[in-house]
Amino acid sequence: MSDKKQERVGVYVCHCGSNIAGTVDVVDVANWAAEKLRHQGVVIAREYKFMCSSLGQELIEKDIKELGLTRVVVAACSPHLHEKTFRTAAKKAGLNPYLVELASIREQVSWVHTDKAVATEKSKAVVAGAVSRVIENVPLEEIKVPINPNTLVVGGGIAGIQSALEIANAGFHVYLVEREPSIGGHMAQFDKTFPTLDCSACILTPRMVEAGTHPNITLLTWSEVTNVAGYVGNFHVTINKKARFLKEDLCTGCGICQEKCPKKVIDEVYEAGLGYRKAVYTPFAQAVPNFPVMDKENCTYFIKGTCKACEKFCPTGAIDFKQEDQLINIDVGNIILATGYDLFDARRVSNYGYGRLPNVFTSLEFERLSNAAGPTSGNIVLRDGKTTPQRVGIIHCVGSRDKNFNNYCSVICCMQGLKFAHLVHERTGATVYNFYIDMRTAYKAYDEFYQRVLEEGTLFVRGKVAEVTDAARYDREKGKLIIQVEDTLAGKQRRIPVDMVILSSGLQPRHDAKEVGKLFGISCSTDGWFTEKHPKLDPVATMTEGVYIVGCAQGPKDIPSSVAQGAAASARVLDKILQKEVALEPIKATVDQEMCSGCRICNSMCPFNAIAFLEDRMVTEINPALCQGCGTCVAACPAGAISGTGFSDEQIIAQIDGLLWRTLEVEEAVAE
Amino acid sequence: MTQRISIDPITRLEGHGKIEIFLDDHGNVANTYFQIPELRGFERFVVGRPIEEMPLITNRICGVCPEAHNMAASKAADAVYKVDPPRTAKLLRELLYSAFYCTDHTTHFYALGGPDFVMGPEAPVAQRNILGVIHKVGLEIGGKVIQMRKYGHTVVEMIGGRKVHPCASIPGGMTKGITEDQRKEIEEMGRWAIEFAQFSLQLFTEIVLGNKSYVDLILGDVYTHRTYYMGTVDENNKVNFYDGKVRVVDPNGKEFIKYAPKDYAEHIAEHVEPWTYLKFPYLKKIGWKGFVDGEDSGVYMATPLSRLNVSDGMATPRAQEEYEKFYATLGGKPVHQRLATHWARLIELLYAAEHWVELVTDPEITSPNVHTKPIEIPTEGIGIVEAPRGTLTHHYWTDERGVVTKANLIVGTTNNYAPIQMSTHKAATSLIKEGKVTEGLLNMVEMAFRAYDPCFGCATHSLPGQMPLEITIHDIDGNPVNVLKQFC
């Protein structure tokens, strides 16, 4: 350290009102720093009521200008709160913002310790650490990369559609990729939407059509993303457009092929297994795009080699059995993931008997039952297709808030259950029971809807259903489904016979969420939902710059929230597009190629593919735009050839020494 | 009475292998102590290390003869796994070892022991070194000496991977073989080595045997001890450096014992004195009788001279001739005059050179089959080679993973510690009378132990390959009256 030029350090200790000063002798800390750390270059140490206040900031700016400070340490709250504040202040005063360090003496000292002496001592150590660290800090400049104005939206559910439309309407191009034949997602399967009960199709279809016809939107349905390379502003994406076996440019969507197709197939996806479709089909009438796909697995021609009925009857000769999957390469600047959710498989809760007891239905099945366009044209009937139920039980939290399945609350099930109750009541006049653990009707007009359903006479039993069985104990139970439940309000066990049980199943992450996450370089929580950059302050961004998550891919939510997130992400994307270039945090790793021996130890370290090995020169190189600054390769390099800005070895070692009073010992040694 | 010379206290700390000479009231030698000041403790810290690292770690016992430790440790490691390396691997090791011998003996004769003769024992200190030798015998010969050392190390590097501290020898054999081109090169160098060895013997004959005073010096009683002798011999009782049985002859030259390396512990024990860090090995069956020679004392010697004394001859023709000439000149076996060791060393040099060529012309030397995979569970192993400075024994115990749990090392020079102590004592006693001391006399005291080419680096696993020496002379009251320091 001695041969290095002496820095001029300013230390600022914040009282944070009494938040810090109540437990830490801030005056002592400041005086101590001024005296004991002088040899390290501390020229001024002040304490002040609120450093983050404009007055506090001005104090720093003034000292930078007048005392010629080259480094600043602010002992206050967590850097996650005010690092930016003080960096900006430094910048205003002409000091590189990265020459400022925060020493957290609130979250990590005053708020968690009680003994003032101890807290003060620890604060001194934390300050000493920050001072010796900041001396090792180097000025950093943000890295700027150009932004490609095109955007990729993955997933054509309501969230994805919303994102796509917002951006497209702003005048920028969007590639909307959907793995199913049509966009629309789960919402397209619903009948009514809570709490307003307006028809799902009626509000969704116009958006779908708008997205399908928008000049700024390239719609790629029946397609999947297979590869993603590059980085924010400059992603290179490969999309596999699966063969539809018909020429989209010729197809008019007249539907004759579907009529003529002799092969009936149970529709597991859209009709939730309750209805049929043909081997060549559009999932539903309002599908966008409206030209069909041919289901190779079930098409007679593909199985037997004869038939071709569709080809025969197609008026425009659009059918093309020779068609093959095609790979499309696109360049985009930002990516929005709206990949949605899978419905919890109610079979897993075996004691509810779904799959075993015919008249136990899943929520999606019920949506189709109650849908006028559904297999029963909206008649709510039992599995036999004719009997109208007299008594219906709706079970909430199926697969949710349950240690055996998913710990989280699926958010929508309560409202969904209430909606079902209402629909059953309205269409059949049956007696409806709702079995719930807690009734969660947050958000606008939700609780009003609850009240309404209450008034309609729906019966509510608070308690987790133990079992649904057809084993009758009493005559009145014969031929019924008996719901065994502990009524926690009445405080007794009850057996309630019903004709129909509807399971308000929860939501869960897509079965392939992990692989998709890897593909786009983002991570999943233990529950499997995509991880946002910050749970509160940055819910739609991810750790990978330029990749956003919206709708249920990020976690269970209702339609309004999904739409809001869709719009929010678009706003973030537009912000980037309009900036034309993006500034990346300058916390990056770099390889000193003189020192790199090309041992390739680091080559397996980077999950963001920022590390490349140059075969010709036998050295490794790091792409600063791809580098996320985690520093794993820095720690891995056996030659010490990789250094990391912002968190360099020198900085961390210096901080260790400071925290352990080493920097003082040095001084005393010098003094002797 | 000699006037007192007070010693700077600092020099007191200079413990580099000291000879402490105490005089009686007549100024004659009362007693001498040859002290070794250091210990690095290899026996302790090899514990916990994997057996395959022993050849690499014990290399560092001595940088003058790392090849010896490398070989002994490798053979011990083979034994630990009960694995027999392919013949080619053994040939390569022995070839490396022969080349090393040529270098090492050359180094000693010209750089270390030689100057005493070439320059004369009483020659000025400043000239008594290799550069002095080169200046005297001429640059052309100096060039040859350098050439010999270069060739030796080149071979060591070609086979062993490195000039100093070779790395290619592992449990079960070698990490690699040699190519035909390398073989040719090595053969040429070997043939040159033979010429060089012959030349050196000729030089010795001219300078030493041609000079009556030197011959008297050699034959004189000052440098004579009647002790047991130890060395390794092949199945025909010919000198062998790499492999064979350890043979010991008594002061009359009669075979006392001949044992397989694995039985060493039955025959050797080490005596401890509290005034030195080095132990004194002796023949267990006879026992420790103090620093005395003769048949009743377990003290033995293991040097080039010993090796000639215990063998029935040399395994190569030219060396055999010299062997016969040697004993003819010095009056039959065994030769007890320590200074003859220098001559014996040159005969070994010639043998090593001849053997070098034998090995490199073996049809199997370039075979790629140089390693046998160890499959047995490792347990315990002993490896013995003849280091230039005496019989070298490595003994390791390991756990079932082949990690060393215990070790015992008896290295070349240690064998000779007792004889050296005796020789220096005898030399001092006969050379220092009534306290009269000159540096020349003192150098002659040193010559007594220098003949052993002592390597206390090896001995203590602590000090450098050759050893600086401090001689302190004390009067009857134990006060130091004279301190002379010198480096061999």
Binding site: A125, G521, A635, R662 | -
Partner: protein
């Protein structure tokens, strides 16, 4: 040294995204925990260079706590696994150096686990308190004479044998 009165000094290396936020959370929630740990923020537990741990231990720390995101939750996808590998080999080396491997501890704590962070910290401080101070190298008071060595050693071997002078 009485281990009850001994206050360990511990350096904690925390991941910016999870455990450092967990520490913040513990603070915001005013959870009380042992004051012996001094934190260093890193971007990721994958940044942990064994050098930092050795530096801390050789410079007066009695223990080192490393905290990272739970497996599968790393903000950099999988770097905490790399930290885990280094940590496990580091512990083996420390053992070879005669240092109790328990002096270095890897703790997973997510941004939401302020309580866990607090309790783990207090727990670790107690574990180190039991192990006693490390004060590395402090024991060295220059060269020792063999005589000391011998006696100390002979004592250790509880040997009655007298060394004849």
């Amino acid at each position: 040294m009485n281990n009850d009165t001994f206050e360990p000094t511990i350096i904690g290396f925390t991941c910016n995204w999870c455990s450092y936020r967990a520490a913040d959370l513990a603070g915001t929630a005013r959870m009380k925990y042992a004051p012996n740990v001094r934190l260093i923020r890193m971007m990721c537990s994958g940044r942990l260079d064994p050098t930092f741990v050795l530096r801390a231990l050789s410079c007066g720390a009695d223990g080192v706590m490393i905290t990272g995101c739970h497996p599968g939750e790393c903000h950099y996808i999988e770097q905490n696994y790399k930290a885990l590998r280094r940590y496990l080999l580091l512990k083996r080396v420390l053992k070879g150096l005669g240092i109790e491997p328990e002096r270095v501890k890897l703790v997973w704590a997510s941004a939401a686990e302020g309580a866990r962070f607090a309790s783990e910290t207090t727990l670790f401080v107690e574990e180190i308190r039991k192990l006693g101070p490390l004060n590395w190298g402090k024991a060295d008071n220059g060269p020792k004479t063999i005589d000391h060595v011998e006696s100390s050693m002979v004592n250790r071997l509880s040997s009655e044998k007298e060394v004849p002078a």
